[in-house]
Symmetry: C2
Subunit: 209 residues, 2 copies
DNA sequence: AACAAATAAGTAAAATTATATCTATAAAAA
DNA sequence: TTTTTATAGATATAATTTTACTTATTTGTT
């Protein structure tokens, strides 16, 4: 990563979502302490995170909410659109395709792909479901930078390779497998099994945490 | 957490999935180095993680694959069933309900809830969709320990409270909000916005990582 | 059968990274 | 002007990962 730490980066969307949920008086300000209390974080951590995105607060005043939102959105790239394709239009893939919220994060899913002939030719909220053969050329032509993988584990690596062949530089993988990719391509795994492990482990603990 | 670190705990399911994907000769063994290479981790880290679950390997031999799988499954509680309910049978909720894979992780979704009357009374793969009114009593009667939240952000906190009122001790939250819960209740957020932030940030970098 | 070489696990220490505490400074309000 | 309150920077603590080193076991060789 660049200069910002991964953990900080992962917290930023949470700040943003919280700020956006606030009743918005136009010139309202908020203190780092208030943000920290709402999100159950340390207030120093909040300040450090916010200073990393280039926001400065004023003593006794705090941070101007609207400025902060703009800074965060700019830093997270929500204003610059990222074009993505989805591979695997199954249960999960369909949910992701139908989800309107991604647009808020600057993510535009412009097409979907599946190996199942029954699905090919469908339109889902205006996005076409295409054959896997068309994937690399489509990605190149449409200038797609992000691939979203919602295929079974066994199909994940070949699909990932196809995305990379199409010029995709970042892959969001929902399948429970580790994928290999060349340097310069980021594989981000949405690891639900890890989340479940934490839940399950917590339940096994007698009465702690 | 107990004695094991959170990061270690999160890696364990990945080891398990990898080991299970291996062509299984019955008494086969695998070295920490081989696991590390496959998952692109440090080999010492693999050894430390595996020793944390109580597995011991033999020099020159490695770890017996089947034993390791059993150790991991036991440690992660995949053998002891966890009963869960889903709240919010929308796009995402339906995908989660329909997903067969959770059973492998010891998670049994035994019921679903929604505020939309049109959905109440449906059966999805044998699980009933019930009214929100019934949530607390259902959870208590059915001994539900885990709640899965797939409702809109605005509804998340009240739904979470209802789950906790029903005796749920761990909540898996897919809504992009921070939830508050009393001590002893774990809130695990599946933070897709964070994942997207990492992807988006990576794409903004000139040509690094 | 004994011994050396090779391989892999286990342990300890160092370095990195992340978080928390503390002090100083600056701005607003009394 | 003084007091209060909040940020910014420096320092300290804690957690995690990496590096280095030691120990143990098998395999091959004499
Ligand atoms: N559904 C969930 O809630 C959920 C949760 C966690 C993880 N996942 C993971 O997400 C992935 C998808 O899950 P799902 O429930 O949507 O599965 P699914 O079986 O419903 O959908 C998979 C889709 O991928 C398509 N597909 C299969 N092989 C393909 C290939 N080689 N190329 C292109 N498309 C192909 C299938 O036609 C199908 O449409 C799986 O890896 C699963 O483990 C799903
Ligand atoms: N769909 C996705 O791919 C996706 C991805 C990331 C995050 N999310 C998040 O997951 C949540 C659900 O997303 P979705 O796309 O399934 O939304 P959705 O609108 O399709 O489904 C929401 C469901 O919740 C129900 N609901 C609303 N208020 C409720 C209440 N007070 N009590 C009980 N049920 C209630 C609705 O009736 C509906 O069935 C949202 O918070 C969303 O931000 C979804």
């Amino acid at each position: 990563m660049g200069s910002i730490s991964k953990h900080t980066l992962q917290r930023l969307p949470t700040y943003l979502a919280y700020l956006k949920s606030l009743p918005c008086a136009d010139n309202a300000c908020i203190s780092a302490a208030a943000i920290a209390a709402a999100l159950e974080l340390g207030e120093v951590q909040v300040r450090k995170d916010l200073s990393a995105v280039g926001s400065a607060g004023k003593p006794r005043i705090g941070y101007p909410v609207n400025d902060l939102i703009q800074h965060l959105e700019y830093f997270l790239g929500y204003s610059t659109r990222n074009r993505a394709v989805l591979v695997g239009v199954g249960n999960l893939g369909l949910a992701l395709l139908s989800y309107g919220g991604f647009a808020d994060y600057g993510l535009d899913i412009v097409g979907a792909f599946d190996s199942n002939p029954a699905l090919i030719g469908l339109q889902i909220d205006g996005r076409p479901v295409l054959s896997m053969d068309e994937l690399p050329t489509f990605c190149q032509r449409e200038n797609v930078q992000i691939g979203i993988l919602a295929v079974p584990s066994a199909a994940a690596q070949p699909c990932c390779d196809a995305l990379i062949a199409g010029g995709v530089r970042a892959v969001w993988n929902f399948a429970p497998v580790h994928l290999k990719a060349p340097d310069g391509v980021l594989i981000q795994r949405e690891n639900m099994a890890s989340s479940l492990a934490l839940l399950s482990y917590h339940l096994k603990q007698p009465e702690r945490n």
